[in-house]
Symmetry: C2
């Protein structure tokens, strides 16, 4: 927020706003929980109309909508609220790109509890309150992830499908490790009628991927390998192995161990595709990728956001000849293409 | 944070960052709790040196310091951290303007609990979890406020002392209502050796003001009137009555009731000085003043950030002839000078 003063002396405004930033998370999550953005899109564009529509108090709605206007999620003119472009695309439940479900993962009680214990976590060097070893199952967490975070994949899943040459339509065997909602493999299957997808994850999580495959009309070309990515039989002869948002959970030795299994599962000319938060070597840029390291500190024993040189080294140790980095447009993530 | 992409299509980045903003509060509070800024100022400017100094894990410190660098509280160059100008002034415990104590009020468990219940609060139209009637005592809360938030008053207390003509040195009787830490009255007393201050607040809170008056060397000119601002005998014949950050706790009728008591306590040519978050009539600018309304929604039954026209009306109803607004430099707050 802008400083409402004209001098250049330092003010504590940034400190004040940062210590209060949890209020922004709460306000946006509350608006999503009350489905305010959809209500406004549907025409309830004053606090009085919103109160009539939602049954919540006019005073509460007025103050919340003003706050959302201050933070750019709404616009306000003459007491009438309207959606920002971003809110219209992503927070109106009737939008095909709706992603209000993200609130239930990003601002979950579980995550807030982890960050409430951050001082203890920093002292310890790993999560002080969560199950920090993600080589072990954690069904409640990952089923919630699969049910809430799928909308965030649209852009990167499209980019991966392009990189995998899905539209060329050649026969292609794809292994999707830690598939979760399954949307990365499913997107390839939708674009390439000759692609066969194998989704690997814990069994309760794969139930979500199965639903999504059916909804996408590709259920006949998606099969499942339940269990640990470190222990289950993953199959072999794959053209492509997808590793989306998995390495950041582990220490480097564990990442290498997984990548060696991937190497063994690929055809001789197969490719591994990694989607990750990859900070620059300074580890503080770009901001979203670099900041993700703190989420892994809070949530895991030894996960991290690794740099490209760290991935290059790990993948080389696992047997891959060459890894190339691509920026995913409209996303804070990077894509790493590894050749056997 | 900047968008790391080159297109102008809407991205969910602002939504993602806002839902994650509680992490920023946690990171800054953790750094303050671990006194990292002081340690870095003292020369422990790498994660290894910080680990040796604080006993916390190097991994935890490295990730936390990187995160603080991303958010502008530190700078990082070649693995060495240094304080931003703001951190050096406000977060190094050896700085006279240190205000790390703010974290214990702004990001307290109490406040976070209030915001965790925001959906329920919006439905109800007033706090769902706190004691929402601040005409009643709440010693733990207000003693904590008095002990932690005093550093934030320096700038505005100086501005008020100037407006009260403290440096002219004329005999002057000042009543400081809801004095808390007492720093507004104490600042006048320090500048004007002929000022006599009466601090009114709940008795346990006044104990903090008493300590501060003694530390400032003005204890002989500060007296105390413990009890409710709505019921206690406030005295009379005051030249100035200070009302700093009190009206926002109440509904308008209660504010008027208090201001009528103030009117009765002032000399015929006396002045009331109100320090407040005063949003513009649009109620969404300036951002910090306008956003404060949500804090009052979360924390009280019926408090608010009132606009100037609302204050003008309340104060007129209470008998004041004229109220003038001043912007407080280097502060998000406004000052209202009311003439009897």
């Amino acid at each position: 927020m802008a400083t409402p003063t004209a001098t250049s002396r330092p003010t504590p405004e940034h400190i004040f706003n940062t210590l209060s930033a949890y209020q922004e998370s709460a306000a946006l999550k509350t608006a999503i929980d009350l489905d305010l953005f959809t209500a406004i899109a549907d025409g309830a564009n004053t606090s009085v109309l919103l109160a009539a529509k939602t049954g919540a108090a006019e005073r509460g709605l007025r103050i919340l909508c003003d706050y959302l206007s201050i933070h750019g999620f709404l616009s306000k003119a003459a007491g009438h609220y309207s959606l920002s472009q971003e809110s219209a695309v992503f927070l109106n439940r009737r939008s095909p790109a709706y992603m209000g479900t993200l609130a239930d993962f990003l601002a979950s009680e579980r995550s807030k509890t982890q960050f409430n214990a951050l001082a203890e976590t920093v002292r310890k060097g790993g999560t002080a309150v969560a199950q920090g070893d993600n080589t072990k199952p954690n069904d409640e967490l990952w089923v919630n992830f699969a049910r809430t975070m799928a909308p965030l994949t649209t852009v990167s899943a499209g980019f991966i499908a392009d990189l995998a040459g899905a539209k060329e339509g050649k026969p292609c065997k794809v292994l999707d490790i830690a598939a979760g909602h399954g949307m990365f493999g499913i997107t390839i299957a939708k674009q390439n009628p000759n692609a066969l997808i194998t989704a690997a994850d814990w069994a309760p999580v794969l139930a979500v991927a199965k639903e999504n495959a059916a909804a996408a009309g590709v259920a006949d070309r998606v099969s499942f390998r339940p269990g640990s990515a470190f222990e289950a039989d993953l199959g072999e002869g794959y053209d492509i192995v997808l590793l989306t948002n998995i390495f950041h959970h582990f220490d480097m030795a564990t990442c290498e161990r997984l990548m060696r299994r991937v190497h063994g599962a690929l055809k001789p000319d197969g490719k591994a595709i990694t989607l990750e938060f990859v900070p620059n070597e300074d580890r503080i840029t770009p901001p979203m990728a670099a900041a993700f390291s703190l989420v892994m500190l809070a949530a895991t024993d030894s996960g991290d956001a690794y740099t490209f040189s760290q991935y290059e080294k790990m993948f080389e140790n696992a047997g891959f000849a060459k890894t190339t980095q691509y920026s995913v447009p409209d996303s804070p993530q990077q894509l790493l293409l590894s050749e056997k």
